[in-house]
């Protein structure tokens, strides 16, 4: 429906107008019922704007390119659209100005209506034939009617006027006038220019008062005016389609706001119109005659000059306009933001703006629309001239050259800067493409969904590995072992926060913000819960947090798959324990149960009668089978995990909630007691061989359990455990199977035993070590006595990888420490009594007597040699590092020598003389593979000799 042309050149303009007019006449022939009395007004609701894009939309133009640029073309399109009618008006005013005031006014209205095409009302129906409408209807109908109210009457008139005028008008484009000018004319021209500038200022003040946005747009228009004149006819590009659509949406939004405040606006509008008309009157009367001619002259002159100029400055101007476009981008986004999220002020302004814009623009266009451009061009020309003169006044060509170079450099620099800035602006625009697509409530909603997926009943366990790893990291970095990074909610639920973020930057901040957000959401949910607390008392929902963070429909991903097989687990758990073996045949279970039952009954009877201490009352049991052991261990591990979890939940000691602390203590103690019972340490020694406890620490995981439980047990309990261990030392697999380790060939059994021994040393010995380290002399001698009494000391000491020797060395060194403290201690109460010392001496003598005959066999090297001797001579002998194996023995012997009396030392030296000499001789005479071995041999010997106050260098072979 647009009837403005896009062309600037006269030829094209003419053709275009002819074409458009022809089209219009055809259109007018169509009969519409809109204006009739019976018409229900629904037509007003139709959106008829934007038809100018139909060709592009439905493929009227040629091939559609692929270089769509949705992000950046919007405002350019707007400018183009705005610029087009403006220039169109320009020509029409030029050609038409004058005959009557009426015509001018109608022209203004027409301009206005054209301009209006770009206003929010452009989407509303345009009543070109709406003159048949009654005034009543006008009042009744929506803002569409208002817009037509503005333009309607005059528009229809003006359309017809245009039609009648235009054939002549087009022909009268007064190019030839420029040639003949009288002095009077030139004078008038100057006067008109002054007058125009004055008019311009008044218009500008009004404009400033009312519209700031408008100014920006006009600046845009001006910049594009040049482009328009120079550039090809501004066809709509295919990519302009979607921005236009976008714009339409915005306009629709605005339209709705408009509808609500129509009354107010209409009033404003009328005032505006009045003012406008007055202004028009005055100005036109004063200026019309002069303006008409001078504008033509000026325009033509300027256009000619401008073309020449533009050829030179085409590149620069192009860049300039580009930069301006870029600069205007932020404005554009601000604009959109206001539309999507209107603040009250922005809203207000927006409500006013379309209407005001209309009137203003009409006014502006009529008065001085083209004049500012002319003035601007003039100024620019003057500047150029001044510059040229200045350049000419610079005398020498060298200076000129230098200046030129300097200018070039500056230009280049500016170009670079502009390029940079443009890139930056483009990047920002690119990044902010999708800004504000989601509202805050959308975001909150998604956050809630996400957080609700994170909430678990046991945040620590669900985040277990991260928590433990974090704790290890913190302890390694020497940081304060702060509490777990877990958000706990009131009733047990919570969110694991994972590892703490280290360092600075954006990500940690984001994490912190996320944490804060989660906390906020949780707190809000809790508050809501409290508010709802009253009705909840009557409700049956047991979970206080249920649904607090939103609901997930159906089964969550964490839910177990639907059970197809329903096993009555309650029956299996309760009642007879044998029912627990769902997989074991019933007969089997009953038989087993029957076997054990008699003995159990006997034992329970004995306990009831005489107590556990009575050795006669002890019911001997079969040792635990490996399966029983493993099952017990699994239970124990469950208990340990429970206890560890309990400890994490320990209420702070200064907590006011005594009840809670009490409950916690009770639960904790109960669990520890269960653990202690499960370890079967208190089961009498004679119950079975091996003792149940020894059976329990036979598997690797049994051994590894001890360090984990040691911190839950009291030191008394640990000592009891130590005593039991010492008493049953020879029952342990690592002691009984120790000879396997002496076999020179490697077998899987050997590897297994070696691993077990290592685990024993690493776990069991490490966990009981603190107990021994604090033990008094009395306890140590008691333990040694127990060991000697109940175990085959020779078998114990002849264990490779030294579990037995380690224990003995541990005892001996402890006693040594006690002896040292005896000489220096001041506190008499800590000193061991005479009686205790004597007892220790007794025990030690006993140990020495037992060991003395087989001292040489303590050495693994000796034992292996014996084994080797037994083997067939052609067996390949694996390379063994006997020195490393022997070292613990030498260590033990050194400890032994320290405690020995003179006679005992004599005996020791006599027994070991051969071994010592052998080592020293082989070291000195070079019967060794390498230097390391020699040093090891000498080191070992010296370890022992130093204890006696000797050194290997004293021995001469």
């Amino acid at each position: 429906m647009s009837f403005f042309g896009f062309e600037q050149s006269d030829q094209l303009e003419r053709e275009k107008q002819k074409f458009l007019e022809g089209k219009k006449e055809q259109e007018d022939l169509a009969v519409y019922t809109w204006g009739e009395e019976s018409y229900d007004g629904l037509g007003d609701a139709l959106q008829e704007g934007g038809d100018e894009l139909n060709d592009e939309t439905f493929g009227g133009t040629g091939a559609v390119g692929k270089d769509f640029d949705f992000a950046q073309q919007n405002h350019q399109l707007d400018e183009r659209l705005e610029a087009v009618p403006q220039s169109d008006v320009f020509h029409q005013v030029n050609s038409q100005a004058g005959p009557s005031r009426e015509a001018g006014a109608s022209q203004a209205r027409q301009a206005h209506s054209l301009w209006d095409e770009k206003s929010p009302f452009s989407v509303l129906p345009r009543h070109h034939n709406g003159s048949a409408r009654s005034p009543v209807e006008h009042n009744r109908t929506s803002s569409a009617a208002r817009s037509s109210h503005l333009s309607n009457g005059s528009l229809s008139a003006s359309v017809s006027q245009v039609r009648t005028h235009s054939p002549g008008v087009v022909g009268v484009q007064p190019i030839g006038q420029a040639g003949v000018r009288t002095l009077q004319e030139i004078e008038a021209e100057m006067r008109a220019a002054a007058q125009q500038s004055r008019n311009l200022t008044t218009a500008a003040t009004q404009r400033q008062q009312l519209m700031q946005e408008q100014q920006a747009q006009q600046a845009q228009q001006q910049s594009h005016f040049h482009q328009q004149q120079r550039a090809a006819p501004p066809r709509m590009h295919p990519q302009s389609q979607s921005p236009r659509f976008h714009q339409q949406q915005q306009q629709q939004q605005l339209m709705q706001q408009q509808l609500m405040r129509e009354q107010l606006l209409e009033q404003q509008l009328r005032e505006q119109q009045l003012r406008e008309r007055e202004l028009q009157l005055r100005e036109q009367q004063l200026l019309r005659e002069q303006q008409r001619r001078e504008r033509h002259l000026l325009d033509i002159e300027l256009q000619e000059q401008l073309r020449l100029e533009e050829v030179e400055r085409q590149l620069r101007a192009q860049r300039l306009s580009d930069v301006q476009n870029q600069q205007l981008l932020p404005n554009r986004y601000l604009h959109q933001r206001q539309a999507s999220n209107p603040s009250p002020i922005a809203q207000h302004r927006r409500q006013q703006s379309p209407a005001l814009m209309d009137t203003l623009q009409a006014q502006y266009q009529q008065n001085g629309q083209h004049i500012p451009h002319n003035i601007q061009l003039q100024q620019r020309l003057l500047n150029e001239l001044a510059q040229a003169e200045f350049m000419q006044s610079m005398a020498t060509p060298e200076e000129q050259e230098a200046l030129r170079v300097e200018a070039m450099r500056r230009i280049m620099e500016t170009e670079r800067m502009e390029e940079k800035r443009r890139r930056k602006a483009a990047k920002i625009a690119h990044m902010s493409r999708y800004n504000d697509l989601m509202t805050q409530s959308d975001k909150d909603f998604i956050t809630r969904i996400q957080v609700s997926q994170l909430v678990t009943q046991d945040p620590y366990a669900d985040d277990f590995y991260a928590q433990v790893y974090g704790a290890i990291l913190r302890s390694r970095m020497g940081l304060q072992a702060s509490d777990e990074r877990v958000l706990k909610f009131g009733s047990g639920g919570g969110v694991g926060l994972g590892l703490g973020q280290k360092g600075t930057g954006r990500r940690p901040n984001a994490m912190q913000r996320m944490e804060q957000q989660v906390e906020r959401i949780v707190n809000n949910a809790r508050q809501r819960e409290q508010e709802k607390g009253e009705p909840r008392l009557f409700s049956t929902a047991p979970h206080s947090l249920q649904g607090a963070l939103g609901k997930t429909s159906g089964r969550s991903y964490k839910a177990a798959p639907r059970q197809l097989l329903q096993v009555d687990s309650a029956a299996a758990n309760g009642g007879s324990p044998t029912m627990g073996h769902a997989h074991i045949s019933k007969e089997d279970a009953i038989r087993r149960h029957g076997e054990g039952a008699a003995k159990e009954a006997a034992k329970m009877g004995a306990e009831a009668l005489g107590g556990v201490t009575d050795p006669d009352g002890i019911v001997r049991q079969d040792p635990l089978t490996s399966k029983e052991t493993l099952a017990i261990l699994e239970n124990l591990y469950d208990l340990v995990l429970n206890i560890e979890q309990l400890r994490r939940e320990q209420p702070s000691p200064d907590s006011d909630d005594f009840e809670m602390v009490g409950i916690w203590n009770a639960r904790y103690n109960e669990s520890v007691q269960q653990l202690w019972d499960g370890l079967r340490v208190m089961v009498p020694l004679e119950t079975s061989n091996p003792h149940p406890f020894i059976s329990l620490i036979t598997p690797t995981k049994g051994k590894k359990l001890l360090p984990r439980i040691s911190r839950h047990l009291t030191s008394q309990q640990m000592l009891t455990m130590l005593t039991l261990l010492v008493a049953c030392f020879s029952q342990m697999d690592i002691v009984t199977h120790a000879p396997i380790l002496d076999a020179p060939e490697e077998t899987p059994e050997q590897a297994e035993l070696e691993r077990q021994t290592q685990t024993f040393l690493g776990s069991v010995v490490q966990s009981i070590l603190p107990g021994v380290a604090k033990a008094g002399l009395r306890l140590v001698s008691g333990l040694l006595g127990l060991l000697l009494e109940r175990s085959d000391i020779i078998a114990i000491t002849q264990t490779r990888m030294r579990p037995g020797l380690a224990l003995l060395t541990l005892f001996l060194s402890r006693v040594e420490l006690i002896k040292q403290s005896m000489s220096s201690a001041t506190d008499l109460s800590e000193l061991p009594s005479q009686e205790e010392t004597e007892q220790w001496e007794l025990m030690f003598d006993h140990l020495f007597q037992l060991l003395h005959p087989s001292l040489l066999y303590l050495f693994p090297s000796t034992r292996i040699a014996v084994h080797l001797a037994r083997l067939p001579p052609d067996t390949p002998v694996p390379a063994l590092h006997t020195e490393a194996m022997d070292q613990p023995v030498w260590q033990f012997l050194a400890a032994l020598a320290l405690h020995s009396s003179n006679e005992q030392q004599q005996a020791l030296v006599t027994a070991l003389r051969g071994k010592v000499l052998e080592n020293v001789a082989s070291a000195n005479k070079g019967w060794v593979a390498d230097e390391d071995e020699r040093l090891a041999k000498l080191g070992n010997v010296n370890l022992f000799l130093h204890a006696l106050g000797l050194d290997s260098s004293q021995i001469s072979v």
């Binding site: 627990g580 699994e634 059994e749």
Partner: protein
């Protein structure tokens, strides 16, 4: 404490063997022994210190079935993930 209280389903028996050496029979005439570290409901297993035995029957062309020479290939692995669909049985090794 009843030692069998924790055993309610077949998988509990495998649970007992955690961190113990187990014998695993697999499809494709393969056998594994190794220390069990983890398992799941599909009987996917994680084993360490594994020895795998693969039985290969080399039947010469035209020989009647069942008359091929059986050879056993062994290999050792530090750590192994066993996919559960190949597992036929899991058992503790026979105690000596």
């Amino acid at each position: 404490m009843d030692p069998s209280a924790g055993i309610q389903e077949p998988f509990d028996l495998i649970r007992l063997s955690l961190s113990e050496r187990v014998f695993v029979k697999l499809r494709g005439d393969r056998e594994l022994t190794g220390i069990l570290h983890a398992y799941d409901g599909h009987m996917n297993l994680i084993l360490s210190d594994v020895e795998e035995k693969i039985m290969i029957v080399d039947a010469p062309e035209g020989a009647p079935p069942g008359h091929g020479a059986v050879s056993i290939v062994k290999r050792k692995m530090e750590m192994l993930f066993v996919r559960g669909d190949g597992v036929i049985l899991v058992s503790p090794p026979s105690r000596t």
